[in-house]
């Protein structure tokens, strides 16, 4: 069976809570359904494009900084549709074109420039998944060190279950991806 879904964990395990994306993928790996694969990444844009090109669903998990949400808050962003729809959603993590790259104040993922640029480059190269779901976990401590803060560690199990629940629809070839908007959950 060809790969129809990919889950990419972005992060750095030596940056405390920034390791959450990798931790989620480690927990998911033994439970991944057939037709889906798990990938670890440091967020470098070409890696992401290689990982998600041509799949029905790409799920990206990354730590998020900025904003006022408490540590451990889950942010979910869905990107699909035409170029305009992709770009309007992708601005949330810094993909807003040349002008946007010079502007301050966007809600930056810890690897925000990487993910935002990956979407823009993927658009330019025609290499995007049919649908991209970004799960951001609000980080508390991204200084150097190993281990997740209790708030972020406490969010991992729920996020793993959430991702496992959304994979089956993408693995069914008859299913159509559905577009969504930014939602925030505690």
């Amino acid at each position: 069976m060809s790969c129809r879904a990919v889950v990419v964990g972005i992060g750095n395990e030596f940056r405390n809570d920034d390791g959450v994306g990798l931790e989620v993928v480690h927990r998911l790996e033994p439970r991944m359904p057939s037709g889906a694969r798990a990938v670890l990444s440091d967020g470098e844009p070409t890696q992401l494009i290689e990982a998600w090109g041509g799949v029905a669903l790409a799920v990206v998990v990354d730590a998020v900084t900025g904003g006022t949400a408490p540590a451990g808050t889950l942010h979910r962003l869905t990107l699909a549709g035409d170029e305009q729809a992709w770009m309007s959603s992708a601005t949330a993590f810094g993909a807003s074109g040349e002008a946007g790259r010079r502007r301050e104040g966007h809600i930056a993922s810890w690897h925000g420039t990487g993910l935002g640029t990956a979407v823009e480059l993927g658009l330019a190269l025609g290499r995007l998944p049919a649908m991209l779901v970004v799960h951001g976990v609000q980080a508390s401590d991204v200084s150097q060190g190993r281990g997740l803060s209790p708030e972020v560690a406490g969010a991992v199990d729920g996020l793993v279950d959430l991702i496992l629940a959304e994979l089956p629809a993408a693995l069914d070839p008859s299913a159509q991806p559905q577009s969504g908007t930014l939602r925030q959950r505690r």
């Binding site: 967020g43 470098e44 844009p45 070409t46 494009i49 290689e50 790259r101 990487g114 480059l121 190269l125």
Partner: protein, 438 residues
Amino acid sequence: MTHRQRRSLAAAGLARVEGEGSLHLSLRGDHIEEVRLDIYEPPRFFEAFLRGRSFLEPPDITSRICGICPVAYQTSAFLAIEDACGTDVSGADVSGVIAGLRRLLYCGEWIASHALHIYLLHAPDFLGYPGAVEMARDKRDIVERGMRLRRAGNAIMELIGGRAIHPVNVRVGGFYSLPTRADLDNLAVQLRVALEEAIATVEWVAGFDFPELVIEHEFLALTTPGQYPIERGTALTSSGRQFGAAGFEDHVIEEQVPHSTALHARLAALPGRYLTGPLARYALNSQWLPPTAAAIAASAGLGAECRNSFQSIVVRAVEIVCALEEAIRIIDDYAPASEASVPVTPRAGRGYGLSEAPRGVLYQGYEIGADGTILSARIVPPTSQNQAAIEHDVGQFAERHLDLDDEQLARACERVIRNYDPCISCATHFLELHLERR
């Protein structure tokens, strides 16, 4: 010429991590008052983190320092540990296999790292694009070629290293498992196609217009007579000084400078700055390029050395050809061995390792106890060695372009920084500029 008495430019966000990399340029009238490249330096954290851990762990742990050049960190680490333990892997029966695969793996990293830098960071500068995204919209085929080259490098790292990001098949003493002949034959097919695309890359970048920026720094590179230096070698300077890994800390002095957490490096015997990286490697080793790389370097107009740092893009492209040529040769010569590694027994002592990361010489030194516990670790990455030279060259270039407005001048300075492919350059096309006028 500027009409302002004094102006100050800051390009922040050079690193992915906000506030951990920035460029400050202060000008008074028509001369440079100060150039400061503030870079964040993760190795200091890792040196502390390594103390008290097992002698078998440095290759895995140090590979996490950089997502672009993990093999360089792994290689200098296992060379240093094997040195400390008195193990000469090259003396073992499986030596040819391990040595060959180590070089092959490192070729993969050079190809992937250089392709990323050339196509997605450096080339847009020469073609007038603000970044890779804008260039990809106009020149999709070109960017796709760069992506294929990067993929060829990653394919080597995946097969030999177990995966492209932070390879897991590397250990002190060799590897955990060896590739099959069939796997290598499949890889070679991909690499032969990539070699043609690498040659086309040299021809493409050799046609760019290069601003004048002749550098006069001392060069420092490894040398392995008979081979272009990649995964091992003895340090050599352009004035002829030569030293092994054990002498590195005697010959290279690192000093704290007030504006940066990174240490500035200089050569003990010489005043002034030195440069490591592709220009230094090429100048000190161009005679050891394999035949195809040597021929394409000549046809691209590179002489025995190249001292215009903007042309480093051509040297990197030649080094991709070299790495692919070497990779194909190693695969052709490969004969399977019965063991993937040799045993390494700890003993109290010190050990040192040097290798040529894509961006220059990377040194590691360790002291270990009799039970194999790491007592101290020292890591000197190429970017901190090049910092003084980069600052100097940014200042020199800026001084000649004071007629530019602040934003144009800041962009020009970033171009100079990108010539050196410092680790911070991963994000320099995506940075936000902060201009301060006084």
